[in-house]
């Protein structure tokens, strides 16, 4: 095969993959700009006069803006806490020997082996017992449970790749353990920390199961509200799609902004 036809095939493959992954987004965004009649038309209409009516409607709805605020509160707090708690733990795991280290490490990893739905009922009952249902705190706690291992996992790997000599040079110069962590490990671990923050952010932002189970009215998050339109006899597809677009937008922008770190982080350790 010549180089040119190989490149052509390559491009074709990319095109297929791209349309496959991007089409649902296109469909969501374009549907959010259609009126109900155009939405339900069969065969679907490709050319239509876009309208912002759906957006006007969802933003007028207190429920949607409240949900987005809830989501922001829960997700930002979770991500912030996951990074604040996860990075020192990762430093300890990366650089110190202590009893039970292997067990702790395995526990962190095995946390991610459990399917979340298995725990949904016990967690619900627990939250009910301690009166935490329908609070921001319960969502933050449960998301933290899922996100901390990811942060610790990625950051441990990142911190391990920082040469030990740096830490020892700093120790000789009189830096204490915390200074070493703050002035050497944190700045040099930025790629890993950024990636784990993104993962944490996206996971919490998209999470539906626990948000659905653990909230009532007060702290419904954005994905819950989006699905809540699906009750009743009529499906307001325009509003659902508009809400979906609004939900996806922040993560997309966030991910685009930090995508360079993301690629660097995902391939880190590859050359070890």
């Amino acid at each position: 095969m010549t180089g040119r036809s190989a490149r052509l095939l390559h491009a074709l493959g990319l095109l297929v993959t791209l349309s496959f992954t991007l089409f649902p987004f296109y469909w969501m965004v374009s549907s959010s700009l259609k009126e109900q009649a155009a939405l339900l038309a069969s065969p679907p209409v490709w050319l239509f006069r876009p309208t912002l009516a759906n957006y006007a409607e969802i933003f007028a709805d207190q429920k949607v803006s409240g949900a987005i605020l809830n989501s922001l509160i829960v997700v930002c707090t979770t991500t912030f806490l996951a990074v604040c708690l996860g990075t020192p733990a990762a430093y300890a795991l990366a650089r110190f020997e202590f009893r039970g280290k292997r067990d702790l490490w395995f526990w962190f990893i095995s946390n991610r082996m459990i399917s979340p739905i298995v725990l949904a009922l016990p967690v619900y009952l627990l939250a009910l017992q301690v009166n935490l249902l329908d609070t921001h705190l319960v969502l933050i706690l449960i998301y933290l449970t899922f996100n901390l291992p990811i942060v610790i996992w990625i950051c441990t790997d990142q911190f391990r790749s920082i040469p030990r000599d740096l830490e020892q040079a700093a120790r000789l110069e009189g830096a204490d353990q915390f200074t070493i962590f703050r002035r050497i490990y944190l700045p040099l671990g930025v790629p890993g920390i950024a990636v784990s923050a993104i993962f944490s952010f996206i996971f919490s932002w998209n999470e539906l199961l626990y948000a659905l189970v653990l909230t009532r009215r007060q702290v419904q998050t954005a994905p819950v509200v989006a699905t809540s339109f699906m009750s009743g006899y009529e499906l307001p597809w325009g509003k659902i799609m508009a809400t979906g677009t609004v939900i996806v937008l922040p993560v997309t922008l966030f991910a685009l902004a930090v995508s360079r770190h993301m690629v660097r982080g995902l391939t880190m350790g590859a050359t070890k």
Binding site: D165, Q168, A169, R171, L172, E173, G174
Partner: protein
Amino acid sequence: MAFLSLDGIVKRYGDHTVVDGVGFRAEKGEFIVFVGPSGCGKSTLLRMIAGLEEITAGTLAIDGREVTHVEPAARQVAMVFQSYALYPHMSVFENMAFGLQMAKMPADEIRRRVEEAAAILQIGPLLQRKPRQLSGGQRQRVAIGRAIVRHPKLFLFDEPLSNLDAELRTQMRIEIARLHQKLGVTMVYVTHDQIEAMTLADRIVVLRAGRIEQVGTPSELYDAPVNTFVAGFIGSPRMNFLPATVAEAAEDRLTLTHPSFVDGRLVAAPRRGGARVGARGGARVGDRVTVGLRPEHLALDGAAPSLRLRAEMTENLGGSTQIYARPADGEALSILTPGRPAVAAGDELPVRVAPEQIYLFDGAGLAI
């Protein structure tokens, strides 16, 4: 009172002994070089002095104070790492200022000290750069600068030049020697390169497998190595070794036999500067000994040859020539001779060595 003293220092990892009872003393201002083959425990020893490794047994004192289990920072030592260990996210200035900040020094004093060190090392224009924007030699200077600014009591170097190319290595070697003269501070320097050891050291500590083989000035080690290990390690090109038998033992003269000696015999006299000059008499007729011949002591001389060898290969070094030549049996010997003698492979070479330039070792490899 010695400035730096090590007593019975031991390091074990599990039941693997890496440093096995090292003891020696250094005076204030001395330049000490630890030299030995890779894996002999040099770095471990240095890192124990720095406090980066726990000392399993023994005592360590710096400037009259016992510091065996003292925190590294409290020992007032500075170390230059083989990897340089510069903080990649900090500028050269910040790298050099870090330790002073840790000591809570005022900002203007920090600036003054960093600029002073930068001037000594000629890295003033680089202060705002990041380590990745520096060449290997410049990084090396920054690493040294970072050590200087703290005005430590003791400088430790762990193979600081091994990542540089040959030309830079020579240049930095001279600069380190100059720095030592200028600062007059005690330095301990680790290397596996015997040329660095010979050129830099006031005294050399030769290590093998976690033990000290010999301590002495470069000349002492060159003139009077205590065993074949030190003899082979110090000096370049390496000393040649040849087995022989004692045929006659006079008061201060031994006659040795080996098939490649002219007439089968070679006379060895006490060496100038040899540590055990008088002990030669200890050898008895019939003893198996090892003869050590330094390549630079062998001369091509048809008039009064002591050995007959067959030339195998020559290397033209420009001003001198290194010839590899084989005795009647055994391994090739190297000969370092000035100029460019016309020698072709297969030629029979008459080689002369002065009787007082012959090193002798007994069956166990210890100097006679």
